[in-house]
Symmetry: C2
Subunit: 331 residues, 2 copies
Amino acid sequence: MAELRKDPIVERWVIVSRERGKRPYDFSFEKDIIKEKKDCPLCEGNEFMTPPEVFSYRKDGTKPNTPGWQIRVVPNKYPALKTEGILHKERRGIYDMMNGIGTHEVIIETPNHIEDIFSLEQGCVEKVILTYRERMIELTKDPRFKYVLIFKNRGREAGASLNHSHSQLIATPVIPKRVKEEIEGAERYFTLERRCVFCDIIAQELDSKERLLWKDDNFISFCPFASRFPYEMWIIPIRHSCDFKQITPDEIKSLASMLKKTIRSLNKIFPNIPYNYIIHTSPARSDLRYFHWHLEIMPRLTKIAGFEWGTGFYINYMTPEEAAEHLRQKE
Amino acid sequence: MAELRKDPIVERWVIVSRERGKRPYDFSFEKDIIKEKKDCPLCEGNEFMTPPEVFSYRKDGTKPNTPGWQIRVVPNKYPALKTEGILHKERRGIYDMMNGIGTHEVIIETPNHIEDIFSLEQGCVEKVILTYRERMIELTKDPRFKYVLIFKNRGREAGASLNHSHSQLIATPVIPKRVKEEIEGAERYFTLERRCVFCDIIAQELDSKERLLWKDDNFISFCPFASRFPYEMWIIPIRHSCDFKQITPDEIKSLASMLKKTIRSLNKIFPNIPYNYIIHTSPARSDLRYFHWHLEIMPRLTKIAGFEWGTGFYINYMTPEEAAEHLRQKE
């Protein structure tokens, strides 16, 4: 059983997994990604290779865990956290811990062996977003879960072990540290300025335009002012809302198109670029008027070195203004 | 000229460098490390390949920037920050920034083309630590610098672009976010418990021994309770001191031997493993009774994926207790 352990200094939670505890030689520096469709557990026809599905969009009359689906959600075969059980906390001397209750799911975005979300049809990407929303609504009902995180690792350098287009969901019994930090920052700004910091960012980016990528009725995408990484991109709804679950059907259409557009532009500059994206939303069952959900895309062009890890102080050798210019040209 | 830009939400500073601004195709996913001694700018005889040295330990009678040195400190050829100039702050709408004043130095740990610090003689490693102290004392005098960070990137996966054994130093005009966080955490603990959290950690690790690696009169090394990474190791002085600069000659001897021992044990399990280490010390010209300097070693066995970046919530598939057991066997 995995454990959650808290660092007593900075109060950062770490999932320490005993069950997957590997012997020293199990850590390989280079791991092969499955390239062949017949070996890919996420391909249609290989449903038996994954744990049974917990959600799917599939053709009428087809049975779960058989072909005929468009989107399929399955528990992670090697979950970091386990769903079953009662949450209990423990103290060992100065250290706090709890058992590893949570959920870890894989959202398979297409039955075909397609490698990147921007290559999917508009309608498919809309279904992916709809699935994000459905799973988040469902898991938020569980009072043990304090946060539902949806993210994508694309490419080995970004932490993916499969190249078939997929996202992941992790529900955690604590609010993760960086999420808390962002919420506290937004609250601090709101207390001072009586405005949402994200709404102010949108206004300034629309005004200056130098870091703006694209805008439609519902979303803007831009390279943030203090970008940590070259070509970092954010997508944010223009309508103030703290909660991704509140996304409207119209906004889902916009987000799908914006996601395709931004990631396609990045891929036009760097084909098959590894990247991560993460949905930043409010914690489960909270209503924070000073928070504003958004999606952050982090291309993995550079190595994160000791300086960054030790300090949280990033060096970015590409200005977001330049990056935005390059990306806009690739529309 | 580089700029320092502040994220308006979480108040994280990022160095955005214009001068090194690269065209989109300059980012290569794989970069070759110089393997040949004749091409290595850090080797004895190639002093002309680096900017002029700012500090060295060298044989009597030898001239700066010629052979005859044991340790050599040179400005980084591609510095993230520039030393010259007056610090000025600026506000653009909701965004804060300042000019990129600071120092970025390379500490060349040996005149020979040796790749890892644990392979150096005890006396050489002591000189490396002495150099860290000397440079930190010198740069702390500059009132523009709020923090002096000393760190090592070993191996390409850990961000190194040269394989000749070296460390780096960056002096910054702001206190980096993670440093602030650690200091605030230690202060919070001190306020509650009236004790240093690091001293309490030392006591508990010595008591339980399950995560302990080695101990001598001056230092202990151990795998921390909430290790973020497999085989993460910390080295901490037993004597309570917030400031690395206050290290005594006796402690330098211990630290050199502890550093060699811990990194050697890691290398016995994973030959040529990429890793980072970072000295966590108090900010320049501060005296924090609740802080306790230490050195953190982070092996790079796994990829940091979206989940970790988005949340600061790490998944570690190796318990520190197991890791400590493996490492102790490799003494």
